[in-house]
Amino acid sequence: MERAENIVVSAWPKARARDDRRVSAAVFATILIVSACLSAALASWLPLQVSIVSVFLFAGPHNWFEARYFLMRLPARFGRSRNFFIVAFAGIGLLTLAYISLPALYYANIWSGANWPNAIAGWNTLMILWISALVLMRGRQKANRDWFWVLPIAFALCAFNWLAPELFSLAIVYLHPLVALWFLDRHLRRTKPEWSKTYRGCLALLPLLLVGMAWQLSRTSSLADDNGLFWRITQHAGADLLPNVSSHLLVSTHVFLELLHYGVWIVALPLIGATGAIWSVKSIPIANHSRGFPKLIGVILICGLFAVAVLWFGFSANYTLTRDVYFAVAMAHVLAEAPFLVRMI
């Protein structure tokens, strides 16, 4: 365990040395604020168009950067964390499989879709309990920490989920992009603590931007979802579940959060050295270790780049179908964020 922690941390001094000659905290804050305001303006002005373009351009690459980041955070030897990672990977695999199975069974005419809310509620419950188990396991690894309070919160979330499963799933859609901001916060706190305060100050702007968007767009007429693609985008943002809220506001808010999410994974974290030099596998402990797997990691990363290219080709050939498939399969990366975030707490 000690070895694993040391190996992961060992990549950071390099990043720190490289970052010293880069931007100051004020420039960093300016970049963050301008990016956030620009994203909010674009998402409010052309929500559907920006949604289509951003998913086309950034969905695949951000998954690749995320995968690379997680590989870098993976210890070379699991040691005392072995059970934690077994539960983590088993959960990611089984929950993703179950999530993809539901629409697959429906489209294959094996399941009529009856009791769809119950099925979704069941899946959400398993996800909550899985994350709770990870938090409790992580809590045991830390001295003088009692994280038992996770259980009442988890059960309360399960209760809310069973009352309104679709709304709970919609909440995940909106909250998932914010997880990237949490990752950035944890990373800055470790690698550039002098930026951490500035970053948290900038985060205070986020609710202001969201309130501003709500104020501007709440009275706008709903977006025209007269074709299959536009309909899917508005449904994904919750237009069907929240009929009294303008779909313009919903889509704009979701697109804005997604842009922030992509920005963190593709720009912010690589720039502060969180993913190391992207072409090199030496910053990845599981590849750099004497008993590691450098070739396997190299192959995984190259296959990832190939998958990004396939995704771009799919979007070019049939955007609507590829988008549907992507958002089903992409649940894996949403789930993968949980254990790695828990490890950073």
Binding site: P117, N118, A121, T125, D146, F148, W149, L151, P152, I153, A154, F155, A156, C158, A159, F160, N161, W162, L163, A164, P165, L167, P243
Partner: protein, 184 residues
């Protein structure tokens, strides 16, 4: 840990027996009465120069009525919950577990900070509770109060404003306006 597991198993067994017991309760009879689909305001006034009664509806109100009528088949969230016994049972079970484990956590934690956190939670709950009571207290008088002066206002040629619930009923009967006048 072992004791917690045994305790959890015993609680689950108790709950399972409760679910079986409730399985024998008959389903509620479905209601056939028309239900309001939309609530808006109405002004009743007289005009001696007019030849025919007129019903004036703003475009926005008409659109809202159309939207509400279109959604009539979709039950509200509360109705959906009430008519899904499985989900109600599951939600209740998890709420019970949440409260139980919160109690266990409270009993386990002897730290002052935890007590402060719990006190904060209780304070927030009390504030919400009081806010709920205040909001309900300020909900205003019942709707029929606003219509009590309608006969006198009609005699005097003055207007009367009040709330009205829009209901859509089957058939092709004339429109009806039912005013809730109470005998004094």
């Amino acid at each position: 840990m072992k004791r917690t597991l045994i305790l959890s198993a015993a609680i689950c067994a108790l709950l399972a027996s409760g679910i079986y017991a409730f399985g024998d309760i008959a389903k509620p009879k479905p209601s056939v009465e028309p239900k309001p689909i939309f609530y808006t305001g109405l002004i009743v006034k007289t005009d001696p120069k007019e030849y025919d009664a007129r019903l004036i509806i703003s475009e926005e109100t008409l659109k809202n009525i159309q939207d509400a009528a279109a959604r009539r088949g979709n039950a509200s969230l509360g109705q959906k919950i009430m008519h899904s016994s499985t989900r109600t049972i599951m939600a209740g079970t998890f709420m019970f577990l949440a409260v139980s484990f919160a109690g266990i956590w409270f009993a386990r934690s002897g730290q002052r900070r935890s007590h402060k956190a719990i006190a904060a939670v209780f304070l927030v709950a009390i504030v919400f509770g009081l806010a709920t009571v205040i909001v309900r207290a300020n909900a205003g008088p019942p709707g029929y109060i606003r219509w009590q002066n309608l006969p006198q206002a009609l005699k005097d040629g003055q207007e009367t404003a009040g709330g009205v619930q829009i209901e859509i009923v089957p058939g092709d009967d004339r429109m009806q306006l039912i005013i809730p006048l109470r005998k004094k």
